[in-house]
């Protein structure tokens, strides 16, 4: 554990040292992941579905703030769909506007969750989002998670309808919407993600030792059980190995986030009791774990180097050498 804490300290110091450079790098990576995910999902426009365009846009996203990047990603989706159907492009643009005016404008931070979910689902790491959200937010965050899941399955419906139809009229929109509402996997994901968020949120508010770790494990286990049971009941096929691997990786990712955010020393718990005029208090104080990272200083002892730097010493050394020879 001490090693991990030292590692955390080193990581924090490293980040503090190169903040401006690392921030740019993270923005580039986030931009690249976002644009390449859109390209992999609905990359219809041949001009934009290129690695060079993804790199160029990712480089551009280094200069953008988070909200501008979200706007550009949404615009990128609309441009791709516009290439296939103007009606569908208008519909998806209207859906983004509804999400913006109806929700994201009031809670701008939740907009990041909305966009993180559709990007994380194909990578099988979306299972970590309800766990992390349950750890750091309130159950209200179920709303942006649901929007994110909805966007992903809407784009999937667009993809599957467009692949079998040459129509570009309103009928295409109707077909997409019918497919979207008939998608049982979406409902399963919505229910499971909402339940996992609530379970993690309830558990992390308990007064137990290692409560965050317990909440993460409970979240991952309930995620696996709920998905398997509901999918079995509704006869939905799922790839078990990527799902299990994704859940384990997500749980590890959630633990890492939690560890970097807050590490508590449960061995040093103190239970206090005191009173004032109105109440009698039972207080449980858990100290935070903090370890000062040892700074390594290498002291070089090199006689030759030393004598070269000190001319007087060198002369003295030469003299004694001559005397010995004589």
């Amino acid at each position: 554990m001490t090693q991990l804490l030292v590692f955390r300290e080193h990581l924090q110091k490293f980040y503090q040292k190169y903040t401006s450079f690392l921030n740019l790098l993270f923005r580039f990576l986030i931009g690249f992941i976002a644009f390449s995910s859109v390209n992999r999902m609905i990359g219809y426009h041949t001009m934009f579905n290129r690695i060079s365009v993804e790199l160029l846009l990712a480089a551009g996203s280094m200069l953008m703030s988070g909200s501008v990047l979200l706007f550009f990603t949404a615009g990128f989706c609309v441009v791709h769909i516009f290439y296939v159907s103007r009606v569908l492009a208008m519909v998806i643009a209207v859906i983004f506007l509804i999400i913006y005016f109806g929700y994201a404008k009031f809670v701008p931070k939740h907009a990041y969750i909305i966009f993180a979910v559709p990007i994380a689902i194909p990578l099988h790491i979306a299972y970590g989002i309800p766990i992390i959200v349950g750890l750091v937010m309130t159950p209200v965050a179920i709303v942006p998670i649901s929007f994110g899941v909805g966007i992903y399955y809407f784009l999937q419906a667009v993809k599957s309808v467009v692949s079998v139809s040459n129509d570009s009229s309103i009928n295409l929109y109707q077909a997409v919407l019918q497919q979207f509402f008939a998608c049982r996997e979406m409902y399963v994901m919505l229910v499971v993600f909402a339940l996992v968020t609530i379970i993690v949120y309830i558990l992390r508010n308990r007064e137990w030792d290692f409560v965050f770790e317990i909440a993460i494990i409970a979240g991952a286990v309930s995620n696996i059980i709920l998905f398997l049971v509901i999918n079995y009941l509704f006869n939905i096929d799922m790839k078990a190995i990527p799902f299990l691997m994704g859940t384990v990786c997500s749980a590890l990712g959630a633990w890492f986030v939690q560890f970097m955010r807050l590490a508590l020393n449960y061995a040093g718990v103190e239970n206090l009791q005191f009173e004032d005029e109105e109440y009698y208090y039972y207080v449980r104080a858990v100290p935070k774990m903090n370890v000062a990272a040892p700074s390594k200083r290498v002291k070089r002892i090199n006689a030759r180097h030393f004598s070269e730097r000190m001319p007087s010493l060198k002369e003295e050394k030469d003299k004694t050498k001559n005397l010995d020879e004589n």
Partner: protein
């Protein structure tokens, strides 16, 4: 000479104004009721826009049906339902935002306390400097 304490306070103020509490400082000049009212108006406007867009999507989905039955549609009933849902959404939105922004206002006040304390400290620095300049012996004795 550079005054470290003054520099520290100025850095804190600059950080508060440009990054940490930009919105809170911008909205800090409002009275409680005005603050809540302004936000509720914004909520009503945004919810209305979102609702109109949802209606547009529903109408687009049922475009064929609407064009065929444009003469026989029950507009009174339809209007009642559309308006009823709109009013319901607005009432819920206003209620929720009233309590939410009331809480936000209290939170903002707490945040602004620190900012104003720093401003006061900085003001004291300048007043001290001014007093020093005024009391300093800079009288010119005539020949």
């Amino acid at each position: 000479m550079v005054n470290e304490e003054k520099l520290r306070i100025m850095t804190q103020i600059a950080l508060d104004e440009t990054k940490r509490h930009k919105t809170e400082i911008k909205e800090g000049g409002y009275y409680k009721l005005d603050y809540i009212r302004a936000h509720i108006i914004s909520v009503v406007w945004n919810l209305t826009l979102a609702y109109v867009l949802i209606l547009f999507l529903i109408a687009l989905y049922n475009a064929d049906y609407i064009f065929v039955n444009v003469a026989s549609l029950e507009y009174d009933r339809l209007g009642f339902i559309v308006l009823g849902i709109y009013v319901g959404i607005l009432v819920l939105g206003i209620l929720f935002s009233y309590f939410h922004f009331k809480k936000e206002y209290a939170k903002n006040l707490f945040i602004l306390k620190g900012y104003y304390t720093n401003l006061k400290k900085l003001d004291e620095f300048y007043t001290q400097n001014q007093n020093k300049e005024e009391t300093g012996d800079d009288t010119i004795i005539g020949v």
